[in-house]
């Protein structure tokens, strides 16, 4: 699913201008706690979170995610936005809850990210 469809489905808006809306999102992962996110294979995934600090972007960077979607109308800190810009990671925001965001994207056919089966 392309980012533009993700935005339609979740009523999301870009937090950073100049997004490439044709970026392909292949799966989703949702969490506020980043501790365990890296256990999952997040390459090309949409990371859904309500955590506003820069560690969301750091996690996104380490795992090569496709985009980050802030749910519950959470506003990322200026440090987060700056980091997203530096790293070139698309950053979106929606006012609907994380639960509803997941529900809508799941209904639209996006699968869940799987844990790394092996690190190879």
């Amino acid at each position: 699913m392309r980012l533009r469809e993700v935005m339609q489905v979740t009523r999301a808006r870009p937090i950073l201008a100049g997004l490439d809306l044709d970026v392909e999102v292949q799966a989703c992962f949702a969490a506020d706690l980043m501790s365990d996110a890296l256990r999952y294979d997040l390459e090309h995934a949409l990371l859904i979170s309500g955590l506003v600090n820069p560690q969301v972007m750091r996690t996104a960077e380490m795992a090569d995610v496709a985009a980050v979607l802030m749910a519950r109308g959470k506003v990322p800190t200026p440090e987060s936005v700056q980091l997203a810009e530096e790293l070139g990671i698309p950053l979106l925001g929606t006012d609907i809850t994380m639960y509803e965001t997941c529900g809508r994207l799941y209904a639209a056919g996006l699968p869940s990210c799987a844990p790394h089966s092996s690190q190879e």
Binding site: D32, L33, S35, R39, S49, E61, D64, S118
Partner: protein
Amino acid sequence: MSPTEVLKAQELVYELRIGDIMSRRLVTVTADTTMREVKTILRDRRISGLPVLDGGNLAGIVSIEDLIRSLEENDLDALAGQYMTTLVHTIGEREPAVRALNVFGRLGVGRLPVVDDEGRLVGIMTPDDITRGVLRALEKAYHEEEIRRYRARHVFDDIKSDRTSLILRYDIPLRDFNRAGRASSQIKQTLNRLGVDPRIVRRVAIASYEAEMNIVIHSVAGGNLVAEINPELIALLAYDTGPGIPDIEKAMTPGYSTAPDWIREMGFGAGMGLCNIKACVDQMDLNSWPRQGTRLEAVIYLKPTEGKASDEAA
């Protein structure tokens, strides 16, 4: 063009000077050149306008439009001075290209004479020159970047020693959640720069980030992260000066955490990530001494044949 290239092009319009992109092959006429001669020059040189000089100074511009007027009047023997446009906008050679873009847009003219600081005519500028100049500069920037990448990828080829390695050292401050992850980010960028396989880069980045966050969250005074890169492997070393892990076996259990609530509210500490580090690396060695500190060493081989396949993934 990708969005970043578009941004780069926009930047270049501000950075490039008129003098860098104007045409310096000046063909000029004087006020007493006949329009017939003007017609021949425009045709032969395939240009659309000519600066007209009067005693060395810019007196005007004679263009195809002016030539058409003289043709309509059947007046080809008239002098350029009669048909030229005299209210001529000029632009300084040291001004940015974006100035020319603005003038072209505002006045709708097709060419602008370029003058130096003393007002002497030094070149001429058309909208095409801007496009060409920007494209040329983009290409040059791309080539320079390619060369830098090539050099980075071959850095180990040029250095002669029995064992060469690159060592990156980072100081990890305690509980600075805005800067936390900076070291791992820079390690990742360096490895990408060196042309390491992206899958290996990701494993190193994840292991290094987990180790870095453990220092940020759990140490008493911050700690250090060191990455050693050589042609065979990448070795990570993370160490701090306390408090030490009381029970390493327990700490290796997924989800086990000693983090207080406020750290959890920051989005961390739901597990120590130690099993995740173990799953990402080929070798891991964890030592801890109560009240003295913790030392984690991990190795990831760059060539698959040299490392055991990691089958202990989470």
